[in-house]
C-alpha cells in the first residue's frame, strides 16, 4: 500500500475515543496527549506495511498506554526513589481491552474528554480552543489562524487553559442518567458556540474562521453517534448542517452580507440540507421539543422553500412562539417579529418589538429590523434614525455596509 493518505483520517477519527481512554488511565491530559502522539507515530510506521488493524482505536489505546507506561517506568528508574504508587496504580487498569471498548465505557470517556474542555472556570474562547486541540487534534497553528491571533498567543492560551483544568476535579466515576444529561447539555452548548464563532464571521474573516464551523459539525456528529436517540442532539446537528448549507450564498463577491431572502438558493449544499432535514424529521417524532429542535425546524422551513416567496412564514411564526416559551429572550422575540411582519404586516411587528427597546438598546439587529419595518411603513425619517443607530453598533464592516444599502434606498 503506497498511498498512506487514508491513515490520517483514521487517526483523526479514533482520537476522541483513544484520548478519552488514555485520560481515564493516566488522569492527566498531557500524559494522554503524549501517549496518543507516540501511538500515532507507531501507526504511521507500521500500518502502511501491515494494513490497518481490525480495530484502530483499540490498537492505538494499547500502544499508547504501553508507550506511556514504559516512559513512567523509565523515569521511575532514573529517580532514586521509584514512585511505587504510580506504578501500581497503572497496573490496576490492565483489564482486557476488548471488554472495555465494547462496553459503555467509551461513551463516557469521550463525553468526559469533551466536558473537561467546557470547564466553567474557562472563558468560552479557551473552551473552544482546548476542544479543537484536545478532541479534534487541530494544531496550535491551525487554531491560532481560525481565531485570527498569533501562534505564540494561542499556545499560551491553551497552556493556561490546561493548567486551569489540571488543578480542578475531573469526575472519573461513571455518571448517572441525570448527570450524563447535564454533561451532554454543557458539551452541546460549547459545540454550538464553536460553530457560531465560525458561522458568524464576516466575509473577510469567513475563510480563516471556516474551520471552526466545520470542526463543530465534526464534533456534533461525534456526539450524535454517541447518543443517537437524543432528539436535542439530532436537532443541534440538523440546525448546524442547515445553517452551514447556506455558507456559500451568504456573501456576495464584494463581501456584503446577502440576506436569506436574497440568497441564490442554487448555491446551497443539497447533501447537507438532506441530512439536516432527515435529522429534524427524526427528532420531531420523539415529541420532546427543545430549543435546538425548534431552531432547526425553522431552518428546515427555509431550506424547504424553493424560492424565498415560498417560505411558510405562518409556521415559522408558530415555531418562534414555541421558542419564546422554551427559551424566553428578547432576541427570540425580535426574530419572531420578522416572521410576524410577513404574516400580519410591519405594523404588528413594530408593535411587538417596541417593548424590547430598553433591553436591546445596544443590539445591532434590533435597530436594523426596526429600520426595515419603519421603511416598509413609509416612515423614512424614523427609519433613517434607526439605521443610523444600527451602523454605529455594527460589529463588522459588512454589517455596516448592509445597513448603508438600506439607507441608500431611503434617499433615492
Amino acid at each position: 500500500m503506497t498511498d498512506i493518505g487514508w491513515i490520517d483520517p483514521v487517526l483523526v477519527s479514533a482520537r476522541p475515543q483513544v484520548m478519552g481512554a488514555l485520560l481515564r488511565y493516566f488522569r492527566d491530559l498531557d500524559t494522554a496527549e503524549e501517549a496518543f502522539q507516540e501511538a500515532c507515530l507507531r501507526a504511521v510506521k507500521t500500518w502502511p506495511q501491515n494494513g490497518p488493524p481490525r480495530h484502530a482505536a483499540a490498537w492505538l489505546i494499547m500502544v499508547g498506554r504501553n508507550a506511556a507506561m514504559d516512559d513512567v517506568r523509565r523515569r521511575a528508574r532514573q529517580t532514586t526513589l521509584p514512585d511505587e504508587a504510580v506504578l501500581s496504580d497503572l497496573d490496576d487498569v490492565e483489564t482486557p481491552m476488548a471488554e472495555r471498548l465494547d462496553g459503555e465505557h467509551y461513551k463516557d470517556d469521550i463525553l468526559r474528554l469533551l466536558l473537561i474542555c467546557c470547564h466553567p472556570d474557562l472563558p468560552a474562547t479557551q473552551q473552544i480552543a482546548l476542544a479543537l486541540r484536545v478532541v479534534c487534534g487541530l494544531s496550535v497553528k491551525q487554531i491560532a489562524r481560525a481565531f485570527l491571533v498569533g501562534e505564540a498567543a494561542m499556545e499560551q492560551r491553551i497552556t493556561r487553559a490546561k493548567a486551569r483544568i489540571a488543578g480542578g476535579d475531573i469526575a472519573f466515576e461513571t455518571p448517572g442518567a441525570v448527570e450524563r444529561a447535564e454533561r451532554l447539555a454543557v458539551v452541546a452548548a460549547m459545540i454550538y458556540l464553536t460553530f457560531n464563532e465560525g458561522y458568524s464571521a464576516s466575509a473577510g474573516e469567513a475563510e480563516a474562521r471556516k474551520p471552526l464551523a466545520e470542526e463543530a459539525i465534526w464534533l456534533v456528529r461525534l456526539l450524535l453517534r454517541l447518543f443517537p436517540t437524543e432528539p436535542e442532539i439530532m436537532g443541534l446537528t440538523a440546525l448546524m448542517l442547515l445553517q452551514q448549507a447556506r455558507a456559500k450564498a451568504r456573501f456576495d463577491r464584494d463581501g456584503n452580507v446577502v440576506l436569506l431572502e436574497d440568497q441564490d438558493r442554487s448555491l446551497w449544499s443539497l447533501p447537507r440540507i438532506a441530512e439536516g432535514l432527515a435529522l429534524i424529521d427524526k427528532a420531531m417524532r420523539h415529541r420532546n421539543p427543545g430549543p435546538y429542535q425548534v431552531q432547526a425546524a425553522i431552518a428546515a422551513l427555509h431550506a424547504r422553500a424553493k424560492r424565498a416567496e415560498d417560505t411558510d412564514w405562518v409556521q415559522i411564526d408558530l415555531l418562534y412562539a414555541n421558542l419564546e416559551r422554551l427559551q424566553p429572550s428578547p432576541v427570540v422575540t425580535l426574530n419572531r417579529a420578522v416572521a410576524v411582519s410577513k404574516v400580519k404586516g410591519p405594523e404588528a411587528a413594530l408593535e411587538m418589538i417596541e417593548p424590547l427597546a430598553g433591553r436591546l438598546e445596544s443590539y445591532f439587529y434590533f435597530h436594523g429590523v426596526k429600520g426595515a419595518l419603519l421603511q416598509q411603513l413609509a416612515r423614512p425619517e424614523e427609519a433613517r434614525a434607526a439605521f443610523g443607530r444600527a451602523i454605529s453598533l455594527a460589529n463588522t464592516a459588512a454589517e455596516a455596509a448592509h445597513i448603508r444599502q438600506h439607507l441608500d434606498r431611503l434617499t433615492r
Binding site: G5, W6, P9
Partner: protein
C-alpha cells in the same frame, strides 16, 4: 450477472476525510466508474447519508421505530454500486479497482443481484451527485 458491491467502512474515518483527500478519492472513484460505464457495465450508484440519519422499522406484532441503522457494526454500509460482471472473478476485480481508488480501512461485500427494477423516479427527484 449483476452484482451489488456494498461499501462498508468506518463512517467516523470517512467523516474525518479532509476536503483534499475527499476530492482526490472521489476523482479516483469516478475514474473507475467511468471505465465501467464505458463498458456498459455500470448500474445505479448510491452514496448514503451517515447512519445517524437512519431510522429502522422493526416488524412484528407491534412495529417498532428505532433511531439508527439496522445493526450496530464497526463498519457501516455507506453506499453501493450495481455492476454487470461476467463472473465472480470479474466482480472481485471490480471491487479491487474500487479498493485501489479508495485504500485503507473498510470492505466491499460482493452480492449477486436476484432482481433489479428500473428506477421510476422523475429526474427532478434524484438527489444531487
Amino acid at each position: 450477472m449483476l452484482y451489488a458491491i456494498l461499501c462498508y467502512n468506518s463512517e467516523e474515518a470517512v467523516g474525518s476525510w479532509s476536503k483534499e483527500y475527499h476530492d482526490q478519492t472521489m476523482a479516483r472513484l469516478h475514474t473507475v466508474q467511468d471505465k465501467l460505464a464505458k463498458q456498459g457495465r455500470l448500474g445505479p450508484v448510491a452514496r448514503l447519508l451517515p447512519t445517524t440519519a437512519a431510522t429502522t422499522l422493526r416488524k412484528g406484532r407491534e412495529e417498532m421505530v428505532i433511531d439508527g441503522p439496522f445493526a450496530e457494526t464497526k463498519e457501516q454500509l455507506l453506499g453501493f454500486y450495481i455492476v454487470d460482471c461476467a463472473s465472480l472473478e470479474a466482480a472481485i476485480d471490480t471491487a479491487k479497482d474500487l479498493a485501489k481508488a479508495n485504500p485503507g480501512t473498510g470492505s466491499y461485500e460482493i452480492r449477486p443481484v436476484a432482481e433489479l427494477h428500473a428506477s421510476r423516479l422523475p429526474d427532478a427527484k434524484k438527489p444531487a451527485a
